[in-house]
């Protein structure tokens, strides 16, 4: 797994670990392991943990999609595809995006990647020059900052605020000095907060970006998991299409995380640049997964709707329970996360999360792992069956009550 220190090998199994003569690059040395990792290790050491720390669906990919993947293997479809992905798939992706008023040419403006992760990484490497500044709306998914760093760029954190329901506003952009940024990356519906942004709320952000000539990298991987109103993409706003790359994929809505399939939509030049990176580093996205995705787009809308219905019920359940125990939590309306405040008398989310894990075997991730804007909060994922959620809430309530004075 790593060259030293964190070896996968059990300590004391005889041999001494060999000293590596391969020195990690400065770039890697400057990148600390994710804050999530530490918490993962703590959780793994314990038995019978109910984890609300999982960032992927608890559902299995729809059978139709899995079946199509199996059938493609049976037919022996195991070669590379076109760099940008199978045309059949790109066409369907473009057609699907029309739901959000997005219109992209499948030949020039769509690229299929190994997860949205690869698309995001390719965008950083294709668009960011050394010295460029990428503003990152926080709290956010943990990969943006290291991705920019690996590409040689600099990041500028833009902390969103609980009182704004963790939405981006011109005020927080200004306060962070984002007018000097070359790019802005954000994610709505948001991981870890569950916040969403409507067209009306995106419009002033679009104005800010146009005024200050900031390119937008819009991570919309949770678009289908929007529970109040419709998902909106900034790229559908006037004059935003040419300055925006949209990321999406099959991991969340279709519960296909392990198939590793995502995509980016953007103006031809940007997608061409990303394809340059992609063709040398990935060649093409996993072929089997592309067949699954074609079928997913053709026939799995009902399953997606059903999963969304289940998440929505759990969301309302969890929000009601936090409310009943007097734990402050803003009303998350997307993804599968809620982002409660650390209950009194705790100040620090990390201390609370460790004490809760220790006492009640319930895991929630401290918000600070998702950037400074997340301090004082916890991410609770409801990608977990209702029975476990109920039990987790019961334990949390007991824990919170015991420590209330």
């Amino acid at each position: 797994m790593s060259l030293d220190g964190e070896s996968d090998r059990e300590a004391g199994d005889g041999e001494e670990a060999e000293e590596s003569t391969l020195t990690p690059s400065q770039r890697v040395q400057n990148t600390p392991p994710s804050g999530i990792r530490r918490f993962f290790e703590l959780t793994e050491e314990m038995d019978d943990v109910i984890s609300l720390g999982v960032g992927e669906p608890d559902f299995t990919a729809p059978w139709n999609a899995r079946e199509a993947a199996i059938a493609s293997l049976e037919r022996g479809q195991t070669s590379y595809t076109a760099n940008r992905g199978m045309r059949d798939l790109r066409e369907r992706i473009a057609a699907d995006a029309e739901r959000w008023d997005l219109s992209y040419d499948p030949d020039e403006e769509v690229i299929v990647t190994a997860g949205a992760s690869e698309a995001i990484d390719a965008a950083f490497r294709a668009l960011v020059d050394p010295g460029n500044v990428v503003a990152v709306a926080e709290p956010c998914y943990v990969s943006y900052e290291p991705g920019v760093r690996f590409a040689g760029g600099e990041t500028l954190p833009v902390p969103t605020r609980a009182e704004d329901e963790f939405e981006l506003t011109p005020a927080v952009l200004q306060e962070a000095g984002a007018e000097r940024a070359d790019y802005l990356i954000y994610c709505y519906p948001n991981n870890p907060t569950g916040a969403t942004m409507s067209v009306e709320e995106l419009a002033p952000v679009a104005e800010f970006c146009k005024e200050h000539d900031v390119g937008v990298l819009s991570d919309e991987i949770y678009a289908d998991l929007t529970y109040e109103g419709e998902h909106a993409s900034i790229a559908a706003l006037p004059e935003m299409r040419e300055r925006t790359v949209v990321f999406n994929g099959f991991s969340k809505a279709y519960a296909m995380t392990g198939l590793r399939l995502g995509y980016a939509l953007g103006p031809a030049g940007a997608i061409e640049a990303m394809n340059r990176v992609h063709q040398y580093t990935m060649l093409s996205a996993p072929t089997t997964a592309q067949y699954a995705a074609v079928e997913a787009l053709d026939s799995c809308a009902d399953e997606v709707a059903e999963m969304r219905r289940q998440y929505d019920r759990r969301r309302q359940f969890v929000l009601s329970r936090f409310d009943e125990m007097g734990v402050e939590c803003f009303e998350a309306t997307g993804a599968f996360y809620v982002f409660p405040e650390v209950p009194d008398p705790w100040e620090d989310a990390g201390t609370f999360a460790e004490a809760l894990l220790e006492a009640e075997s319930v895991a929630m991730v401290p918000g600070g792992a998702f950037g400074a804007g997340g301090n004082g909060h916890l991410r609770a994922s409801y990608a977990t069956g209702l029975d476990d959620l109920k039990e987790a809430m019961r334990r949390l309530e007991r824990f919170v009550d015991e420590h209330r004075d």
Partner: protein, 181 residues
């Protein structure tokens, strides 16, 4: 549906949605408590009670039952269960319609389900009994002699893989990593 003023008002629409949502939840798990149903739907507990009572009294909800894997039940209880699906062909005459025959068959406690179906036969019957011999005795002594019934074909259930939406398999472990970004 039939009440136009109901459909026209926003409240009527909300009622319709609440009914559909609660029905869906009860089908998923009839043991959800009123409080949990309220938490999941955003309704008040009182509203949940009222809608469910209404669904029950109007006959939309006919009852609540557990989905049981009887093969497993056998190992923890003494209960023996044999399940059979029976195809029935009937002839009708001026005095006797499907309803009349159904009325007669449905009253047998051995009959778990009775449906009129399209295709090669008329009625699909589900029978539950303690043993195969009791099933066949029931069919030959009680069902076949019904004058309108011209033919019966009995299929014993050998194994059940899924029932009422529930897969009968070892509950799959959650193999996701416990904490991920």
């Amino acid at each position: 549906m039939s009440d136009q003023s109901d459909a026209a008002s926003g409240e009527g629409q909300a009622d319709t949605e609440a009914r559909a949502e609660l029905l869906d939840l009860l089908c998923e798990n009839a043991r959800y408590s009123t409080e949990d149903l309220a938490r999941m739907t955003g309704l008040d507990a009182d509203e949940v009670e009222a809608v469910v009572a209404d669904l029950e009294s109007s006959g939309v909800v006919q009852g609540y039952a557990a989905v049981v894997d009887w093969d497993r039940a056998e190992s923890v209880t003494d209960a023996e269960h044999v399940h059979a699906l029976v195809e029935l062909n009937v002839t009708l005459d001026r005095e006797t319609g499907y309803e009349d025959i159904a009325e007669r068959l449905a009253q047998f406690p051995e009959v778990q389900a009775l449906r009129l179906v399209s295709g090669d036969y008329d009625f699909a019957l589900e029978v539950e009994e303690e043993s195969m011999s009791r099933v066949s005795r029931f069919i030959s002594e009680k069902v076949a002699p019904v004058p309108e019934i011209t033919q019966t074909v009995t299929h014993y259930v050998m194994d059940t893989y899924k029932e009422a939406g529930h897969r009968f398999e070892e509950t799959g472990d959650d193999d996701r990593l416990s904490v991920t970004p």
